[in-house]
Assembly symmetry: C2
Homo-oligomer: 148 residues x 2
DNA sequence: GCCCCATACTGGAATCATTCCAGAAAACGC
DNA sequence: GCGTTTTCTGGAATGATTCCAGTATGGGGC
């Protein structure tokens, strides 16, 4: 219960009500970084017995909104969520199977890169996604140009 | 018709049949970079009279597959297509309205960045997306944290 | 210049992730 | 404990995209 009571504190600090679903979502993401909403739903059903899809989406959204979760959305794949939110790290995505791995950012805070021309935009963050093949997919190699 | 006959050559060079839909798709994207599939459908209906949605998706896919188009998929927005394919430029996306602008890459060829740790991945390209607010949205400012 | 076959296109239904909605249940300040 | 506000439930709806079966068309071969 240690991590649960810590999560409880985190929720209160951010001004969110402490609910079973929210605690379970946070717990589900411990040790399962980069889970999709569907992964979380399945995890919670195994854990709590039953939860509505909507409750999970609501929780993921509110937790993301207060900065307890970070959402990443690799092109062509459903959104994934992670608890690592303190730094400005990046991601490596396998164009074969969609596997995601974290990549440290050498700068550590956003935006870590700055565009040559801004076109008048107020740049807030630079999202870097490395695409390639994970070790497993490199073996049974997937032809290039399938990035989606 | 100059650009049309050039496009015809491009299609043949890549081993694609020359069809009205494909030529029209290429034409539609001239001067309308970063169009969505839906934009293209509308453009083609105004141009050719009628086209099936599927024909447009098929064309966009095959043109992308042979490297005549590049697809970009900003998180939370439908895919967009552009004809600028020779270099490895990046994009700036407005988190308010979804507007997209090109940003030159200082390196020019992929991958222009290299991850600190590769986790055994064979890295092929580094996709950089700058998020921020376009001039228009900066005016009637959209609160932060809405990046999706 | 015509025929044939692989490839494209049509229209309509299906899929997937996500959101909308209205009502029931739970959180927590008092 | 009580009431208000927020959250959760279940089901229907949405938007982008894909699947499918049938028809049409491009272009290499004759």
């Amino acid at each position: 219960m240690t991590s649960t009571s810590t999560d409880e504190t985190l929720l209160r600090e951010r001004g969110l009500r402490v609910t079973g679903v929210r605690l379970a979502v946070l717990r589900a993401l411990d040790g399962h970084e980069h889970s999709t909403a569907d992964d979380v739903v399945r995890s919670l059903r195994a854990d709590l017995g039953s939860v509505s899809v909507q409750a999970v989406y609501d929780s993921l959204h509110s937790l993301t909104a207060v900065g307890l979760l970070r959402r990443l959305e690799p092109a062509g794949h459903p959104a994934r969520y992670e608890r690592r939110v303190g730094d400005n790290h990046h991601h490596m995505v396998c164009r074969g199977c969609g596997a995601v791995a974290d990549v440290d950012c050498t700068v550590g805070e956003a935006p870590c890169l700055h565009p040559v021309t801004t076109h008048g935009f107020a740049v807030e963050l630079a999202e870097v996604t490395f695409w390639g093949l994970c070790p497993r997919c490199t073996a049974g190699s997937v032809p290039a140009g399938t990035h989606s």
